[in-house]
Symmetry: C2
Subunit: 460 residues, 2 copies
């Protein structure tokens, strides 16, 4: 009996010591991020000195070489590029659009959707049919749709607490709406910007046409313009109201680009990996500050913090700046492909691509309830003082997604910052450095470094 | 045995039904706030049509009558004013300041501290002594301090996760620094703005002199200017560096003003009260959007939501727009005094004065660990889907504070939104409507309505 008691006591004591040690390390991680953080200044340079960096653009290539140098300056064990061919879509001249209300022309803030085609050179004018879903287009059928501009106008559902869910709920209009409308003979598509904010910014983003389908011009208009158009359509009835837009975007041949990878090599298991990453490419309308400059700068910061604290991970920890998340996710595919090819063992991957806002926690993709209960039992208490302790089952991210099949057994994790402001700026010209808060950015980096430290020490 | 089992089963069933009913009601509260919310538009009017509203000012009186009309338009059971005499401090002409570096004059963003006195008409020039704490002033003593401008320059400690704690840690320099420096013969005081943000905004705020002490001119300078002055002081040494500032603020006689109170009268216990409130007055430099326009608009919104849902509280629920939180908290004192005078029974009071940011939870002042454990056991699960479930022991607020003594047994609660951005704009000209996010504001109102609903139904 005494022996057993001693054993239990020893185990408890050991557990307590471990807990105290982890707690101390996490405090050090936060202190380093908040006192000596480098992510904010790096983000300023990325946003202000490089700026928009759509896949295939000259700026994207500048961002690649700058990122490599940045990681090298941090002194990571390895820094290298992964070649990947990426699509090269260009917007061309600034778009114009207006509502034609009889003899009145009302200017409308507009932006071509990524991967869309141009209108005829003189622009495109047609009657408008307002719909609220893809199903409605299918129901209306060719007779109603042919020759018209289809106007997708289903707003965000404000009742979702996490705005990502509202985006998911409205997003099919942009992702697939144009392709479906084309099938029924539409000549063009305009989509209400995917944001809850009522403002004058068009929010772009990719739309997808299958190879055999017809590609028609598709653009996003601002939410205010969408409301105005909808009101006029109700007041005036067709055919008084027409819509005009002109865009000159085009697809160019694929371009060689790169993922940028930095690594701290594991002291015990160099061939086991924990990845943290975001995407280096951005839309062309702004600086890609929150989408996803913050994500890449946080990923590099995680490794920088470990270096600064002289923490040598047991497993290899990688920061990956993925290329081409926005219109193809070829970088994510390539990373998984190479991981498989090199027979790397992947423990976990964390994606940070929901903005550099105050961290709330992490979501673990496809894990069991038992798994998440254990994660909470073990680590929630450690993360609670930093208010980044919401550990739930949920989605992870586009770039790390392909690892699921290529590296079975991996745990995919999504970094979950506060979601309220993300879609106000998402894919619009408002996604600039000035809208990033230094502390929120740093807290995010610290929360990811803490989780990776725990995974590195204790496994998953 | 069967009887006992049946009893247990019934109790569980009843508990489950109650839980389901509460859960449903909270969902309705959030839906109403997010779909039909009025707080954002009301805040716009308060900020843009009225604007700054320092106690005693004409704008503060405009805000009082507008607020009363707003509450009346919402159809509350009672809407009335509580008379309260408030201090009337005025800033006068815009301040000027510069660092005198030999023959160079470097302009400095400056704002007089509230309740401070003017400099001589031609301004005040003196040698500067930089200190980092009140203790340092006391240690240096009269010989070092006399005739000088004392420059308090202790920055926020960035390691605090909640910025309110960093404010608390640096705040004594502004609150009491000038009075202490005056005791040792200082001719003026400048204080590093109480913000972690490195920018060009001076952040004002009240400073306090005791009645018998000497009142000397005191002002806040921007954090960037503070860094510059500190660097120059180190480089050049005294007496090459002097500081000049000029302000013409003054105290005028007290003015009659008002708290604005709206009430839904309790159907079962009309003389038992749950209060939710913020302060209607603001500093004069900006619109008082987050401090505390959001708080008052949320408080009214709580009652509006109940009305809209036809929820008739058992106890009386009051929204209180307190006057004069910023430089005297006479409104808070008056509310407590009248509550005692009318022998009202007060169950709980919630204060919302930390900005209209995404809610994280609530802190309960001075309660026991058992109490907070019970609150968590009962309600955390209900608030968890809305991510406003951090229920902790902590501070409440300045305006409801006096209720503690006047109405013993009351539970004081602080609304806790995300704290990261608050001190970036706090008491500066940057505290404007544009920096408030509609959803964050609405989620805060919904979280408070939910907690008040639970308190009304189940007590505390």
């Amino acid at each position: 009996m005494r022996k057993k008691m001693t054993l239990i006591f020893s185990v408890l004591l050991f557990a307590n010591q471990l807990y105290a040690q982890d707690s101390l390390m996490i405090r050090k991680i936060y202190d380093e991020a908040l006192v000596n953080g480098k992510s904010y200044e790096s983000l300023r340079v990325l946003c202000k000195n490089i700026g928009p960096r759509l896949s295939g653009s000259a700026n994207a290539e500048k961002a690649v070489s700058w990122s490599k140098k940045l990681m090298e300056s941090y002194g990571f064990d390895k820094v290298y590029l992964q070649e990947v061919m990426v699509p090269h879509w260009v917007r061309g001249a600034k778009e114009t659009a207006f509502i034609v209300d009889g003899k009145n022309r009302i200017a409308v803030p507009v932006a071509a959707l990524g991967m869309s085609v141009a209108t005829p050179e003189q622009g495109l004018t047609a009657n408008v049919i307002e719909v609220h879903s893809i199903q409605e287009v299918e129901k209306l059928g060719e007779q109603a749709i042919r020759g018209k501009i289809v106007f997708f106008n289903r707003p965000f559902d404000p009742r979702f607490i996490n705005t990502g869910q509202a985006y998911g709920g409205a997003g099919d209009q942009r992702f697939m709406g144009p392709a479906v409308a084309a099938k029924y003979g539409a000549v063009g598509v305009i989509v209400r910007s995917l944001t809850e904010s009522l403002d004058d910014y068009p929010h772009t983003g990719a739309t997808f046409f299958d190879q055999h389908g017809k590609n028609i011009p598709a653009a996003a208009i601002s939410t205010k313009a969408a409301n105005q158009l909808s009101t006029l359509l109700k007041m005036r009835k067709l055919p008084l109201i027409k819509f005009y837009f002109k865009q000159s975007c085009q697809m160019l041949p694929d371009v060689l680009s790169y993922n940028v990878v930095g690594e701290l090599t594991g002291t015990e298991h160099p061939n086991k990996f924990i990845t943290v990453g975001g995407h280096l490419d951005s839309w062309d309308l702004a600086e890609g500050a929150h989408d996803d400059g913050t994500g890449v700068m946080q990923s590099a910061e995680v490794l920088r913090i470990f270096k600064a604290l002289d923490y040598k991970p047991k497993n290899s920890v990688r920061a990956v700046f993925f290329m081409n998340e926005e219109n193809g996710h070829r970088g994510g595919d390539k990373y998984a492909e190479l991981a498989a090819q090199h027979q790397e063992e992947h423990i976990a991957a964390i994606e940070t691509d929901e903005g550099g806002f105050t961290p709330r926690g992490f979501s673990f993709e496809g894990v069991s309830k038992d798994f998440i209960r254990k994660v909470n039992d073990n680590w929630k208490g450690l993360l609670n003082p930093y208010e980044a302790d919401r550990l739930t089952i949920g989605e992870s991210g586009t770039d790390i997604g392909p690892l699921k099949d290529k590296r079975p057994g991996i745990i995919l994790i999504g970094f979950r910052p506060d979601s309220q402001r993300y879609f106000d700026i998402h894919h619009s010209s408002n996604d600039v450095f000035e809208n990033v808060n230094k502390r929120e950015l740093e807290l995010g980096a610290a929360s990811m470094a803490s989780l990776i430290y725990l995974i590195d020490q204790h496994g998953l």
